[in-house]
Amino acid sequence: MRSFWPIYKRELFAFFVTPLAWVLITVFLLVQGMHFFLLVDHFASAGQQLSDQTPLQAFFGNTVLLYLVLFLLVPPMTMRLFAEERRSGTIESLMTAPVSSVGVVLAKYAAVVTTYLAMWLPTVLYLVILRQTGDIDWSVAASAYLGVLLVGAGYLSLGMLMSAITKSQFLALVLTATVILALFILGVGEFVTREGTVMHDVCSHVSVWAHMNDFASGVVDSRRLVFYGSLVVLPLFVTVRAVDAWRWG
């Protein structure tokens, strides 16, 4: 595990020294800024009629914009993690140094999660702005950000796995986007299936929409924690196995 730090640092370096990270962060903040502006504008004109929801809840839950952003940003963030190294051959230098597969995988994953958090960090400003107009329930805000972290961490883990099973960055991008979209569509199934059926239960269990609604209103359900915990750990585990498997190819 001592190989963790150098690889973690190098991954962050590689991410921020190339334009990719800055382009992604800019796009992300533009979309989120617009989103926030629309919400504030909406709440300002509608006044107290929407008393069942706070702007905070509307920002994190009950909105398609959040998923759209994740759908667009996660695949390009994870696509290069392993695919690029395998295509260019740098993986050979990396794996012949005294490093462990677990260390390499965790370091790369930690780096991409760090980047993801860095993207969200400026949105805390929105809370500060909202505070000008009224009180903010900070525990609800924390729960909302926990939701954002969990959903993102799960998607990033899936994305890294996709990058590990192909040498093509583009293919990794397409695969990741497909899986994220599939998860989302499965979640939408919650609204089209009849209540009480197995399909409905399955759909509502994986529905990122419902999850984020919960988190945004301050509900931290242990089922959600288990679901996203699995969504992080399982792909990580398979990625480690994939990295080990290259040696026997």
Binding site: S3, P6, A14, S88, G89, T90, E92, T96, A97, G249
Partner: protein, 330 residues
């Protein structure tokens, strides 16, 4: 330092390395010679711990590469064939990263990077982004990378591939210098490379070992390729006599040697695949035929095949069996 025993590496059904065994002792500079596609890179990748052996054992400094991979990799500096680097990093950043990865202690890292850059002659590009470097410099950055943790063993995969003649000379110089402190195993498909820098050579073809030993020992395997004679008398009669001998493929005046006053140097070459015993008999007959033709024989000396020809013979017979080298699992 390296012990390879019955190594087999298969890619699917294709056998890249087939029951290969050899040893490299401490302090040696060993050349790993073979034509393209012989399985050199695959073998070196297994030794470096990048690929796992299908069967057989590989030990590096006493550590088995599969069970004690960590320890083995720490003893070894490896330079891959294509010398891949992260193009967005500066040379000094990259080497510092590599030093940290290879567990050079924090306090010694700067020193280690500086020393490695000195040995590999890349100090003048220390602050250049790797993506902007020429092939020769990138090759040497790869060498510096292999050296940075001061491993006792260096494994270099075609260290001079793709370089211009001046750069090749520089790199050979560096390798000779490194041979004083490190054990070196370097692969190449160029014979003169081995002659220039190695104390011993291991020749493989089609994934199999075909010869191993010092250059002198290998040179002894050269077969007799023909006969060089100096005769006094009629040149045409001598040539006719020689051409009549069984086993002679060609006989012609030796253009390289001066002839005068009816003294002629003649060189004849044996037919291909003539074994040593037949060559000896053909030599006896040739001298006899010359005498019978009424020319006086002043000198008769066997001509050995060149090292290049020997290399071709050693590896050529197997080349068909092995086929192209696998790209690897990378």
């Amino acid at each position: 330092m390296i012990s390879v025993q019955h190594l087999v590496k298969r890619y699917g059904s294709k056998v890249a390395v087939d029951d290969l065994s050899f040893e490299v002792d401490r302090g040696e500079v060993v050349g790993f010679l073979g034509p393209n596609g012989a399985g050199k890179s695959t073998t070196l990748r297994v030794i470096a711990g990048f690929l796992g052996p299908t069967s057989g054992t590989v030990k590096v400094a006493g550590h088995d590469i599969t069970t004690e991979s960590f320890e083995a990799r720490q003893k070894l500096g490896y330079m891959p064939e294509a010398v891949p680097h992260y193009p967005e990093m500066r040379v000094v950043e990259y080497l510092t990263f590599r030093a940290e990865l290879k567990r050079v202690a924090r306090g010694e890292r700067k020193r280690a990077v500086w020393d490695a850059m000195g040995k590999a002659n890349v100090r003048d590009v220390a602050n250049v982004v790797i993506g902007h470097l020429s092939k020769g410099y990138r090759q040497r950055v790869g060498l510096a990378d292999a050296l940075v943790a001061r491993p006792p063993l260096l494994v270099l995969d075609e260290p001079t591939a793709g370089l211009d003649p001046n750069q090749i000379r520089d790199v050979r110089e560096v390798i000779r210098e490194l041979g004083k402190e490190h054990t070196v195993l370097l692969s190449t498909h160029i014979l003169s490379e081995v002659e220039a820098s190695c104390s011993r050579v291991v020749v493989i073809a089609g994934g199999k070992l075909v010869a191993a030993g010092t250059m002198d020992e290998i040179a002894k395997k050269r077969r007799s390729a023909g006969l060089s004679v100096v005769v006094r008398g009629d040149l045409d009669a001598a040539l006719a006599a020689l051409r009549g001998v069984e086993g002679v493929a060609k006989a012609a005046p030796d253009a390289a040697r001066r002839t005068d006053d009816g003294v002629h140097a003649v060189r004849c070459s044996w037919q291909k695949k003539l074994d040593e015993a037949s060559a000896a008999r053909a030599t006896e007959e040739a001298v006899g035929a010359l005498v019978r033709a009424g020319v006086f024989v002043r000198e008769a000396s066997p001509v050995k095949s060149s090292l290049e020809e020997l290399f071709g013979e050693l590896t050529g017979a197997r080349a068909g069996a092995g086929g192209e080298e696998e790209e690897g699992a990378a």
